[in-house]
């Protein structure tokens, strides 16, 4: 067990964990932030997507020891004031069905728009290919990203 200091959604948090504990379980079990979801544990589904220094990563496949000084953002910290344009677009298009994959989708889309504010349809598809939605909301996700990218 080791002590780590993480910068989580702008706040420093101390945790004690084994060095190999995936960030996902640190976030969910030790920090009790439940918006980041477990879907596969193998970087195959994107449900656990968070940002490290603004870039989308699969938290299930990053051990806590590798996080270091990087700034961690989870869905709870995506927009501290009001709503992120994606969160507004998500409501406008009523994207979710069960909703479980959606926080990962939004975090992945937010990083996409940060790197590429007006992605083409093909760019959206390839950037979002790592995020599974078993309920099948892909078309609305795409539409919501397009709406947000125009705002």
């Amino acid at each position: 067990m080791e002590n780590f200091t993480l910068l989580v959604n702008g706040v420093r948090r101390e945790v004690t964990a084994p060095a190999d504990m995936p960030l996902l379980w640190v976030i969910r079990d030790l920090l009790s932030l439940k918006g980041t979801k477990f879907g596969c544990g193998q970087a195959l589904c994107g449900a656990c997507t968070v940002h490290l220094d603004g870039q989308a990563v699969r938290s299930c496949s990053i051990p806590i020891a590798e996080v270091g000084e990087q700034e961690l953002t989870t869905i709870e910290g995506l927009s501290v004031e009001g709503e992120h344009p994606l969160q507004i677009a998500w409501q406008e298009h009523v994207v979710p069905q069960c909703g479980y994959c959606q926080t990962g989708q939004i975090m992945n889309a937010a990083a996409l728009l940060r790197n590429n504010p007006s992605p083409t349809e093909v760019e959206i598809e390839s950037a979002m290919a790592g995020n599974l939605c078993r309920c099948g909301t892909y078309n609305r996700i795409k539409a919501a990203i397009q709406t947000a990218s125009q705002s």
Binding site: W25, D29, S32, F38, V94, C98, N139
Partner: protein
């Protein structure tokens, strides 16, 4: 205990519902909803599988409090269909509530309070549309009476709107909340003469209404079963029998206990090679402070298994056996005329064999459940379950408790598709909590989920069709064989039940003079369950693929061909031809007949909307299929093409649906969009294989579901403005999509598809 499966037997709905004022005791039971408020309940009579009348039990409650907030209890599980929004929406619309001030509360699993809560079989809207309207109408009627008294006007001149009663003539208006006092002593109005609003007057029903939880979901605040925590809880991850029926010979726990955070290792006993639908598999549970410790602890376990009878099971070999079976005479399930003679006089005979694999549900939230066995001997559960009462009864049975001592709280479900009807994971949590006297949350990993599901059965089918000299279809002989759901519980269940046969096979609606439908024996070597639309999946694949081939042989347009095969407009009951029962999704066939005119209407609509004839003239690769399931009529046209890299894509899908009165049009469309994508996975990419009794796939790398680039690009859902009784839309989009896609692929590649999934075409 065998629960009711709506698609296999009952319950049958009836439109008898009753609205009542809860007693003081009932009032207290539903606590938070009721404080200081006007409250009514509505209950609803349904009959059991054998038609026996089950007692009235309240299904829903509605309250109006002093803040003019309308609270409605949602007693169905939300797994992505929007039912948690759509049922309260019906109450609110009839009532004239301000939708923005409606609060929805989730009911616990309690039959005495909420009646049947099994959320399965696409029947929530079908069963509860009428009772929900009546609940709203009753409260509305009472509010009008109260306002009439207050203003000394005729209540008939008043109406409700946006949470207020309005008297148009005098221009007076008053909030519902300000009438609560007057409501307290009022009698429930006569239900026989109760006036419901006209369909055209609704402001929510028939419109797009966003789901209640959309904002919470977008902000990560929506909580699912896997998100439940209690102080002092432990997390359990379980090593389960690799082959169904395997027994633990012995196990070493020392290495697991060395992992920091791991506290206990506990054995769970299984229930043999036919373990049933609600029992845990045999396994060794590692109990730890957090999920990661439990996962690592499990990896460190050493378990020696006696793999049992299923250890030599190869699904590929069983598939070959099943195909051989279809060449023999099987068990007769429906018969009309005499196919054998008809084949003798047929000019052309087509005979094709269809194969489909096992599928796993792969709900994006793997099974998880939190149980707290308390010092007083009661158990409280928090679980993403489709069937809270079955979960409660199964926990009670496993722990030998009275069901009254088990309380099941229903969380949001991260997908269900039939998987989360089975309460095995809930029972695991309860057993472990009792063993360690602490709250325990069981967390399945994705590998656990893929390895230990209740699978959709693999299947073989052979269809033989005979055409006479004029090319008319005169004989239809359909053989179907697949391990049945019943085989999960009993070694003696070797044939599909009447219920499974009635899912798109024996209810073959086409006007063919000679029909013979047969099933064959197949043993269950794993746990078979039901997956979104159940055996409709493989039956529609075979039947609509065969019809497309017949149309080609006859030189007919497939749409015209299907329309002509439906024959005269008529209502089918199949009765005298069925060799067993025809459950008709739990509904009386006279109340919900198979109506060929409704099917024709969706076919004509989809063909117009998709510009079918023009697409064919233009040489587009389009495929068509129509299939009724769960009492909802659906026709589907899928287009396929190649992108610039030569990869096959699905640019457009058109659906037309007649689901009776459409309730929430946005959620109907979203179910069809999702259904097309769910079916795309089944058609293009997913398959489970067993070797030596064990599942070969592990995670989403080997059990593939489609990703955004493979998803159909545009999905249009054309909803028939029907006045018929509403029916569900969760499952019906799936069956016709698969053959429509396969028929389109044939147009593109010139190769008929007889086996799912059609992977090569898409990689």
């Amino acid at each position: 205990m065998i629960p009711k499966f709506p698609f296999l037997s009952g319950p049958k709905t009836s439109n008898r519902s009753k609205v009542f004022r809860p007693s003081r005791r009932e009032f207290l039971k539903i606590g938070s909803l009721a404080s200081g408020a006007f409250l009514i309940g509505v209950n609803f009579q349904c009959s059991g599988p054998k038609g026996e009348i089950r007692t009235f039990a309240p299904n829903a409650y509605l309250s109006i409090n002093s803040d003019n907030e309308v609270r409605i209890i949602a007693h169905r599980s939300e797994m992505g269909t929007g039912i948690r929004t759509s049922l309260p929406m019906i109450v609110a619309d009839e009532l004239g509530a301000d939708w923005k001030s409606v609060k929805i509360e989730q009911a616990v699993g309690d039959e005495a309070t909420y009646g049947d809560q099994n959320t399965d079989g696409s029947y929530s809207i079908r069963m509860f549309f009428e009772p929900m309207r009546r609940a709203g109408a009753t409260a509305r009627h009472m509010l009008l009476e109260a306002a009439g008294k207050k203003w000394e006007v005729d209540p008939a001149g008043c109406d409700t709107e946006n949470g207020q009663v309005i008297h148009a003539a005098s221009g007076q208006q008053i909030k519902f909340a300000d009438l609560i006092d007057l409501l307290q002593d009022m009698e429930i109005p006569d239900q026989e003469t109760l006036k419901l609003r006209k369909l055209s007057d609704y402001k929510l029903i028939g419109k797009d209404v966003p789901i209640y939880d959309v904002k919470d979901i977008a902000h990560g605040k929506a909580l699912f079963g896997a998100d439940m925590d209690l102080p002092g809880q432990q997390i359990a991850v379980i090593e389960r029998s690799p082959v169904v029926g395997a027994k633990v010979i012995n196990y070493a726990e020392d290495k697991a206990l060395e992992i920091p955070g791991v506290n206990r290792v506990i054995k769970i006993s299984g229930n043999g090679a036919h373990p049933g639908l609600n029992k845990p598999l045999e396994g060794i549970a590692v109990i730890a402070d957090n999920t990661w410790a439990a996962i690592k602890g499990r990896a460190a376990l050493q378990v020696e298994w006696d793999l049992g009878d299923n250890k030599d099971y190869q699904c590929a070999a069983q598939m070959e056996d099943m195909i051989r079976e279809t060449l023999e005479d099987g068990k007769l399930r429906r018969e009309k005329g005499d196919v054998k003679t008809a084949f003798g006089s047929s000019g052309t005979v087509l005979e094709k064999t269809y194969r489909a694999p096992y599928y796993a549900h792969a709900t994006i939230e793997p099974p998880a459940a939190l149980a707290h066995y308390k010092a007083d001997g009661t158990v409280e559960i928090w679980a993403p379950t489709q069937h809270p009462q079955w979960a409660r009864d199964s926990v009670a049975e496993a722990l030998e408790l009275d069901a009254a001592n088990v309380r099941v709280n229903v969380t949001l479900l991260g997908g269900g598709f039939g998987r989360k009807s089975k309460p095995d994971y809930v029972v695991e949590a309860a057993l472990l909590s009792r063993a360690i006297k602490k709250p325990v949350r069981v967390q399945w990993t994705r590998e656990d989920d893929i390895h230990h599901d209740f699978y959709h059965s693999h299947s073989a089918q052979r269809i033989k069709a005979g055409l006479d000299a004029q090319g008319k279809l005169i004989a239809w002989n359909h053989h179907t064989v697949f391990p049945a759901i019943g085989g999960t519980s009993s070694a003696d269940e070797l044939h599909p039940s009447d219920g499974e046969m009635g899912l798109g096979c024996t209810d073959f609606p086409y006007d063919v003079p000679n029909i013979r439908i047969e099933s064959h024996e197949a043993k269950a070597h794993t746990r078979i369950g039901w997956l979104r639309s159940v055996s409709n999946i493989h039956h529609a694949f075979a039947i609509s693929g065969m019809l497309d081939e017949i149309a080609e042989v006859r030189g007919m347009d497939p749409v015209e061909h299907t329309l002509s095969l439906l024959g005269e407009d008529r209502q089918l009951s199949f009765n005298e031809e069925m060799k067993g029962e025809y459950p008709n999704y739990g509904e009386d066939i006279t109340a919900y007949p198979w109506d060929t005119a409704r099917m024709k209407r969706v076919i004509e609509r989809v063909s117009t909307e998709a510009n079918w004839s023009k697409s064919i003239q233009d040489g587009k690769a389009v495929g068509f299929a129509a299939h009724k399931s769960f009492l909802t009529y659906v026709a589907c046209i899928v287009e396929v093409s190649r992108d610039e890299n030569g990869k096959i894509i699905v640019p457009v899908v058109h659906y037309a649906v007649d689901c009776g009165i459409p309730v929430n049009t946005d959620r109907i469309r979203s179910q069809f969009e999702g259904g097309a994508q769910f079916a795309s996975s089944l058609a293009m990419s997913s398959a489970i294989n067993f070797e030596n009794g064990q599942v070969r796939q592990n995670n989403f790398d080997s059990y593939q579901i489609i990703r955004m680039p493979q998803a159909p690009k545009q999905i249009y859902t054309h909803i028939i403005e029907s006045q018929e009784k509403p029916t569900g839309v969760g499952e019906p989009p799936v069956p016709p999509f698969i053959p429509a896609l396969c028929n389109a692929l044939y147009q593109l590649n010139g190769k008929r598809i007889y086996e799912l999934p059609v992977k090569e075409a898409f990689v």
